[in-house]
Each structure stands twice: as C-alpha cells, then as structure tokens.
C-alpha cells in the first residue's frame, strides 16, 4: 500500500515522460481557466469587498447570450461584440440597481445581493434562451478544432488546437489585466478603492465608474471562460460549476492577491490532474477532480489561515 502511494506513481512518471507531459498540459489548460475566473473574483473583492457569488452564472449567461444571438442569424464575431455590449449593460445595471443603494452596508448584505443577482440571471436566462443544452459556436468563431501530435522521446503527445487557443488567449488576457492593474492609474484606482472609500473619494476616484469597470471586466472574463469551457462541454446551466472550482483557488491564493489567484489557479489545475491520473484512478477509483481542490485548500488553510499569498492579519490589542 505504501509502495502504491509513494513509489509507483513516481516510477510511472519517470517511465513514461511523454504521458506525464500530456497530463501536465491538460492540467495547465484547466489551471489557466481557473486562474482567469479567480481573477474576476479578486478584482470585484478588492474594489468593493464583495464576494461575487454571481461569477459562475455570469459565465453561463455570457455563453448563452453569444449562442442565442448567433441562433438569430447574427454572424459569430458580431455576436461576440454584441455579447460584450450586453455584459457592459449588465455591469451598469448591477451597479445602478443593486450596488449603489447598498453602499456602506455590511459585507454579508452585499454577498446576499449577489446571490439575488445569480437567481435573477438563472431565471432571466431560462426565459430568454430556454433551459436546454446548446452547442458552442466553436467553428463559426474560427477556433481551430483539430489536433497536433508530437513525439517527444519517441512517445506520444496530443495537443488539441482548441486547448492551445484557450491557453494563448487566457494567458494573454491575464497578462493584459496584470499590466493594467499594476501600471495604470485606473488599475491603481481599482486597487485603492477596496482599501479606503473615503480616501479614494478624496483623490478623485468615482466609486460608480470603478464598480462598473470591474463588473464589466468580470463579464469579459465570463465570456472568455464561457466560450472555452462551452466548446468542450456544451453550453448549459451546469457550466456554473466551473466558477465554484475557483473557490479553492481563492482559498489558496487569498481573496486579495492577484498573483495568488494566478499561481493558485495554475497549481490547482496541475495538481488535481496529476493526483487524478497517478493516485486517484489506480487507488481511489477515479473522479477525484471534483473534490481534490477543496481538500488541498483545506490542508493549506490548516497551516496558513490567510492563504498562501494573503496578507497576514495581525490583531493589535
């Protein structure tokens, strides 16, 4: 038994490096999507102290809108632009109708409000687009669907073109967001707002503008993840679950940390895949990916309650 846990998996990895590479690649693909979604959570949390429960349903809503618009005969790329427009209107409405009247309320109230938004979007989405599964318009968007076969060390490595596209697009989006947050005044405003509302007002930051902006960014992220995940699993309300996979990422990385979200996302993507293939399937009967991330987060929290990258809270007494 001990040998199965501590020796065999590593021996397998060394024996078939091409297969290990395949596993790592697939881990990277989900990891970068987790990181992207976690970034959406972190942005909204940092600028408003709101834990946005609606992030998951926004993924579904964005994907549904895109597919829905296309089914009305609108060309794919114009549908993308229109969907972005819809996400912007959504961000504006959320700020105007939900957030603005609740400024200064306790965090838990705002959290409950995002649950309200979730329910509203589920209901609204079903009424407008119907509840049945749909197929993502992958080909119409020009996303390549084939695969490339590499042969490292005489082995076999299959790279889906879809996955390559996802990795490139998601990585580019993460990089642009990072630069935006760190090296521009608007990015600084976003980071500043969460720390102190009064001070933010005194340097000329408008709460409303920043909130609309971060919810819109969350909307863009939702659309990208919606397309990527929808292309593999179809567009249905079950897509919402992918956002909840970002929760352990946030526990690992800390809700405040942008770097934490990215590294946490990649870590969970890679580790859950490795665990599933080398430990889960041979020893536990597989399907460990649904719970592994949560257990990992739990273990980390036992030792570092503030997450891997969160600020350590020192209470002064």
């Amino acid at each position: 038994m001990l040998k199965d846990i501590f020796v065999t998996p590593f021996a397998d990895m060394v024996a078939a490096p091409d297969f290990l590479l395949q596993v790592l690649w697939e881990g990277l693909v989900s990891g970068i999507l987790y990181a992207l979604i976690a970034l959406g959570f972190v942005l909204i949390f940092r600028s408003s102290r709101i834990f946005n429960f609606a992030q998951g349903i926004m993924v579904v809503f964005a994907a549904l809108t895109l597919v829905g618009l296309h089914s009305f005969g609108i060309p794919a790329w114009i549908a993308v632009v229109l969907t972005l427009g819809v996400m912007y209107v959504l961000a504006m409405s959320i700020e105007r109708v939900v957030l603005r009247p609740l400024v200064g309320q306790p965090d838990i109230i705002l959290f409950m409000a995002t649950i309200g938004i979730t329910l509203f979007l589920i209901g609204g989405g079903e009424i407008i687009f119907g509840g049945e599964n749909k197929v993502m318009i992958t080909e119409e968007l020009g996303i390549p669907t084939g695969d490339s076969v590499l042969e490292p060390w005489g082995g076999l490595l299959i790279l889906q073109h879809l996955d390559i596209t996802v990795v490139v697009v998601a990585a580019a989006l993460v990089a642009v967001l990072l630069a935006f947050l760190n090296y521009t005044q608007m990015g600084r405003a976003i980071r500043a707002l969460g720390d102190d509302h009064q001070a933010a007002l005194s340097v000329g930051i408008s709460l409303q503008t920043v909130w609309v902006l971060v919810w819109f960014i969350a909307g863009i992220i939702a659309l990208v993840t919606g397309i990527a995940w929808g292309a593999r699993a179809g567009v249905s309300f079950a897509l919402e679950v992918i956002a909840y996979k970002a929760l352990p990422v946030l526990m690992l990385g800390g809700l405040e940390s942008i770097t934490g979200a990215i590294i946490g996302g990649l870590m969970i993507g890679l580790l859950e895949k490795l665990f599933e293939i080398y430990w889960g399937q041979p020893l536990l009967g597989g399907n460990t990916e649904t719970w592994f991330a949560f257990v990992l987060a739990l273990v980390v929290l036992l030792f570092r309650p503030q997450g891997l990258f969160g600020e350590k809270i020192i209470e002064r007494v």
């Binding site: 642009v176 630069a179 935006f180 090296y183 521009t184 005044q185 608007m186 990015g187 600084r188 405003a189 980071r191 500043a192 969460g194 720390d195 102190d196 009064q198 001070a199 933010a200 007002l201 005194s202 340097v203 000329g204 930051i205 408008s206 709460l207 902006l213 405040e256 600020e311």
Partner: protein, 270 residues
C-alpha cells in the same frame, strides 16, 4: 465682490486675491446644528487655520469644503464662481486635495502607489488606451511618475517608497498622506489635524514641511489644528470657531488677544 485684493503678511510675503469664499454656511444634522451661519474666505497662497475646542465644528467645515458634507444653507464660491452641490470626487478633480484626521491611506499598497493615486485627478487617457499601455496613456504615466518622485523627494520619504503603507509608523503615514494630497498639485490643500497624535519631533518636521510646501509650490493651505502654539507660528490668518459659531477671524496676533477666543479656550459658562 469685496476683498478680492491680496494683502501683505506680517513677515512681508505677498498674498494673492480671494480663492474661496464661504458665505453664511449652516450645517444641521437633524435637530443638531453643527455649524451656524459662518462666513470666511481663503486667499491664494496663504496658510489659513481653523481652530477651536473639541466639537466646535472644525472638521465639519473642512468636510463641507471638500464636499463630503453638503451645507444645509449657505453658498460656497470657488475661483469666482458659485460651486453647485457636487460629489467629493468631482470636487477633488477641481483641485481640492485633503488629508484626514484619522489617516485614510490605501494600506495594502506601497507608498509609491499611494502617492501615485494622488495623480488620478490628472488622468486624461481613456481606459482602453490604459489597458493597452498606449500612446497618451503611456506618456501620462511617465509624466505622473516624474512628478510623484519629486514630491517623494521633497517630503523625504524616498527610503520607504516600496514599503506597504500598513507597515509604517504613525508619523510617517501622516507624511505619506500629505504626499498623496500634494501629488495632485491642488489649488487648495486641506489638512485635518496634521499634527494630531505626534510627538514634539514629528510635529516640528510636519510644521517645516507645511511651511516648505507653501513656500516652494505656493500652495494655498487650509488646516485645522488643536495645538495653539503650532497654529500661531504657522498660519497667516486664523478662523476661531466655538459651538458651531465663528468667534474670531484675523492674523494670529489679533486673534490671540480676542476676549471671546480666550474665553472659549479657558472656559467660561455659556
């Protein structure tokens, strides 16, 4: 408009014309009158102090100038125009910068980033351009950075530029807050008890910085302070408030000998 001419201070500095005028300001919270019917003005380039015992309404007055409170009655004239009711961030963009009594900094960000937020009022490039680090946005960022470095040098906080503000001691935080306000190159700089809770040495430093800022950049400063000694040394003209009313207004020497002011500070039955 009366009194738009400048004047010459006791130590011979020329002060400009009227920059801001508050006319008959009254502020009520429900049944409580925090400020009743106060008028005074601030001239360009002067250091104007508002003093008074606890609860006199000094901070409320500052909050009215910076737009955090809207007066119940009265008018506020700024640069010769009547200022309509506006949001604090809009007023900040008109050149009114401030610090807070109980320090309001962005604790999680570095000193440099905190001071950079002071430049937000000078941001013109669109969000799209900023996201892509493009042309105008890029030039603006460089220019802002240069100005911010000057302020940081001036206030002698170079050595803590990259330190997260949360880790700094109290006196330095106050200085960083001043730096952030100064980075905005404000027309009026409002300081809410800049010396509160400081030791003698820190107070001396802060006084020196306030005088230097006024001298070097010609910034108009309006400050609230408890410490009478400090106020009398620093300011060109002083408004004295007590129980929401104005009881004195003028150069420090004049105010010092005002019987109402002496009563307010030493205490007589009201």
């Amino acid at each position: 408009m009366k009194d738009t001419e400048g004047y010459v201070t006791a130590d011979g500095r020329q002060i400009g014309g009227q920059l801001m005028e508050l006319k008959n300001i009254t502020l009520k919270f429900g049944g409580v009158t925090a400020i009743s019917d106060i008028s005074f003005d601030i001239h360009e380039g002067e250091i104007r102090a508002i003093i008074g015992p606890n609860g006199a309404g000094k901070s409320s007055m500052l909050n009215i100038i910076s737009g955090f409170y809207t007066p119940t009655e009265g008018e506020l004239w700024y640069k010769g125009e009547k200022r309509p009711a506006m949001k604090p961030y809009e007023i900040a963009r008109m050149g009114v910068a401030r610090t807070f009594q109980n320090i309001a900094l962005f604790e999680g960000m570095t000193v440099l980033d905190n001071v950079m937020t002071g430049r937000l009022t000078h941001m013109n490039a669109g969000i799209g351009a900023q996201a892509l680090w493009w042309g105008k946005a890029r030039d603006e960022e460089m220019e802002n950075r240069e100005k911010v470095e000057r302020v940081i040098d001036f206030l002698e906080i170079q050595n803590i530029r990259k330190t997260p503000v949360g880790r700094l001691p109290y006196g330095l935080k106050k200085r960083v807050e001043l730096a952030r306000a100064l980075a905005a190159e404000p027309s009026i700089l409002l300081l809410d008890e800049p010396m509160a809770g400081m030791n003698v040495e820190e107070k001396e430093d802060m006084s020196r910085f306030i005088l230097d800022v006024n001298d070097e950049f010609g910034t108009t400063i309006c400050l609230i302070e408890h410490d009478m000694g400090v106020v009398m040394d620093l300011s060109d003209r002083v408004v004295v408030m007590d129980y929401g009313k104005k009881i004195g207004d003028g150069p420090p020497d004049e105010v010092r000998n005002n019987q109402d002011v002496i009563d307010a500070y030493l205490g007589v039955p009201h």
